[in-house]
């Protein structure tokens, strides 16, 4: 079983990108979840832009770290459903320009329980006309069985 220190948003671990709002086939979307910051996905103009990351299983998220350039504002929503729908707002935060380097952003997780199957990331503003996303890393555990679960089976 994978530990909490492992990145769950890896294509090799079964994660995938369910949706993006722009695409350049020379820089495919899977570049964001290949665990490598050298490869990237870049927007092709205009904001907002969105990405939906679908995890292989439900994960109780403890940390989301994104490597990017020129993003000015992140929004994040999560969904626990099998299909990527009924999202709930997780966070919205401004990002400083990385100037000549990467932006390494750790998203705020205000709630104690952030269990999700899908993460919808939104870029509403950029520090330039285009932004690039190099790596999305999601850490967390498989959720513990809900308290009602065992009680129900005991009956």
């Amino acid at each position: 079983m994978p530990s909490a220190h492992e990145n769950r948003a890896l294509a090799s671990a079964g994660a995938k990108i369910s949706m993006v709002t722009s695409s350049d086939t020379s820089h495919p979307v899977d570049n964001m979840i290949d665990g490598n910051t050298k490869s990237f996905w870049m927007t092709t103009g205009l904001f907002p832009q969105e990405i939906i990351v679908s995890l292989p299983t439900l994960i109780s998220i403890t940390k989301i770290i994104i490597t990017s350039t020129k993003v000015a504002h992140w929004t994040a929503d999560i969904s626990m459903n099998e299909k990527p729908n009924h999202f709930e707002r997780l966070t919205a935060q401004d990002v400083d320009d990385g100037d000549q380097g990467f932006q390494l952003v750790t998203l705020n997780l205000p709630k104690s329980d952030n269990t999700a199957r899908h993460i919808r990331l939104g870029i509403t503003k950029g520090h330039g006309p285009f932004v690039s996303i190099h790596k999305i890393a999601v850490y967390g555990n498989e959720p513990t069985v809900p308290a009602t679960g065992p009680a129900a089976t005991e009956e």
Partner: protein, 221 residues
């Protein structure tokens, strides 16, 4: 490059300049491929938006211009900054028969620069200066030379056209599209540098790189 290799870039292109300079006329002629010249004057209210796709020659790239034809009438000035927000290219328009519209170009450019913000000079991307109504030779008050000098002073490319005569209306839009593509390529170079990826890849390895991810993503998407 395969069929799926088509790249679509998108830019918000704001057309600005004094009221009556002919902004809507050139936008409508360009948008309709020369079919719709507005014969009577209709003042634009707030901002008219239309989309036009421009293919960049000899590439698999097309640029979608989200043209924002801004109302030049003063009553709308409090809205101008809002319509300029997020713009990534612009056409600055004046009327060659109207000296006031020519003089006002610096005011309009100032508005663009303000929307850009002090930090990032390139935030609004490529822009051009467009002189309209050149078919009106007898009424012409601003010469080509004056226009070119102004463009040089403002640091913009100069274009002149006539919507009524359907002359060279497309050229400034094509230029902006192609300059926007250049901006994309430049940005790509910059991102590669940040990521520590070599810039010039041999053509063969590029083609291989493109094949590999497509095979992977085939079933996952």
């Amino acid at each position: 490059m395969t069929i799926t290799g088509k790249l679509v870039l998108r830019t918000k292109c704001v057309v600005l300049g004094n009221s009556g300079a002919g902004k809507s006329a050139i936008v409508q002629m360009f948008h309709s491929d020369g079919a719709q010249y507005p014969k009577t004057y209709a003042m634009t209210i707030h901002c008219d938006v239309c989309v036009k796709v421009v293919n960049i020659p000899d590439t698999n790239v097309s640029v979608e211009l989200f043209i924002h034809d801004l109302a030049g009438y003063d009553a709308f000035q409090e809205y101008w900054p809002r319509y300029l927000d997020g713009a990534t290219s612009f056409l600055l328009v004046y009327d060659v028969t109207n000296v006031e519209s020519f003089k006002a170009t610096s005011k309009w450019l100032h508005l663009v620069q303000k929307a850009r913000g002090a930090k990032d000079k390139d935030a609004i991307g490529p822009g051009v200066l467009v002189a309209t109504k050149i078919d009106q030779t007898l009424r012409r008050a601003i010469t080509t030379k004056q226009g070119e000098e102004l463009a040089k002073a403002l640091g913009l490319m100069y274009f002149e056209c006539s919507a009524a005569g359907n002359t060279d209306v497309d050229a400034p839009f094509y230029y902006v599209s192609s300059a926007f593509y250049d901006l994309y390529e430049e940005n790509l170079k910059n991102v590669r540098r940040i990521a520590g990826v070599p810039d010039e890849q041999p053509a063969t390895s590029l083609a291989l790189d493109k094949l590999k991810p497509r095979q992977q993503s085939g079933d996952s998407l």
